[in-house]
Amino acid sequence: MNAASPHIDPPLAMLAELTYRCPLRCPYCSNPLEMTAASGDMDTGQWLGVIEEAADMGVLQIHFSGGEPTVRQDLEDMVGRAEVLGIYTNLITSGVLIDQARLEGLADRGLQHIQLSFQGTEEAGADRIGGFRGGHRKKLETARLAGEIGLPLTINAVMHRQNMDDLESMIQMAVDFGAKRLEVAHVQYYGWGLRNRAALVPTREQLEHATEIVEAARERLKGILVFDYVVPDYYARYPKSCMGGWGRQFLNVTPSGRVMPCHAAETIPDMTFDSVGERPLLDIWEQSEAFTRFRGTGWMPEPCRSCDRREIDWGGCRCQALALTGNAAATDPVCEKSPEHERIAALAAAEAAAGTDEFEYRRFGQGG
């Protein structure tokens, strides 16, 4: 794929951020620092329209997310519509607002899978990180309910410097709940995570230890628990293939209907985003400025342009390049071929060694 061959397959998956409202205040939330209030959320009819368009385009999976998607009482209608249209439905949730009736209702409408996040395995520590007292207990109950109902479950263990000691018990917890999949996701440094990086970034030794634990457990639990391991790439040689390449596989719809290549793309200051309802979703995907600017390899600077990994990692992450260099079109500085590489690794190590443990908790920008 390059600028001379504009054909692009439709996206495989859509992330539907139904609202930014959430009772938790996790200091690494992927939502933007400035969030729109609930009054800006699209209504049921608008979302059902988006789902219809996604189905027509050939989207295979919808991830219902937020914020906390179960804040919305019309989630069932959206799940039901997606399932009728043949789209695989996944709920990404904190689990703190779900009771048995709600979970059964969602399963009855066809919900295929639930991804439940945990902040730790020890109650006081987990509740401190999530900024919501009683949250951990509610999550445990939701995990148990998912098992009882037989709803396939992924545990999403969000890991960072302050909860890394919980990793072994997190793996055991996933097995005990009958989860078939465990996402060990080191915090990524965008939005709130970037704001709190000094309190979150692990030491290189912590990261190496965590990787050893995951590799050993992956072997030991083969056929029982599938691992998805997301590393903090500040310490890596090469950048991640962010979103499988800009505008290649994935689109994100925000609560107010803006369509973005990833949930952090709004941080790119000179980029404009189209909204559903104003322009057809397929047209936004194929033609819009936001989706085409970093699609393929034509936009790449050196050393990316001539790199033999250019269609492996697709230039890494544009939002990370912006966050760390001030230029979204720069080589992702976590790549060892970037002139910034050493500086970033040193920065991470220094923050891990000296950073505070104090969080700045997620909040709505305008008093929401």
């Binding site: 439709p10 495989l12 050939g58 999976q61 295929q112 991804q115 709803l151 396939p152 639990l221 029982i224």
Partner: protein, 95 residues
């Protein structure tokens, strides 16, 4: 704790809840949709997965495919077991 599945001739494979076989029209391919993952199936994998109905054993599936594709049964059985074991390890086939 759940035990890992070992696929053999007597196993009766099926797609577990949360895994769905679907024809992906825009890309002209068959896929297995699974939690936050998907697997593109080639022609052989598709024929095998289509047989995973929770009724036919691996032995019966090997008999069937061997007859339909006029291939040596031993080779077919071996290929079926390797593919289904891989899918079982990935959690997209149960038995």
């Amino acid at each position: 704790m759940a035990a890992a599945v070992t696929i053999g001739e007597a196993s009766v494979p099926h797609l577990p809840r949360g895994v769905r076989l679907k024809f992906d029209k825009p890309r002209d391919q068959w896929v297995l949709l699974a939690p936050e993952r998907m697997f593109v199936l080639d022609d052989i994998a598709l024929e095998i997965v289509k047989c995973c109905d929770g009724k036919a054993s691996v032995a019966a599936i090997a008999d069937d495919l061997s007859a339909r594709f006029e291939a040596p049964r031993d080779t077919v059985a071996k290929d079926v077991i390797i593919l289904l074991q891989d899918f079982a390890d990935k959690g997209v086939v149960a038995a």
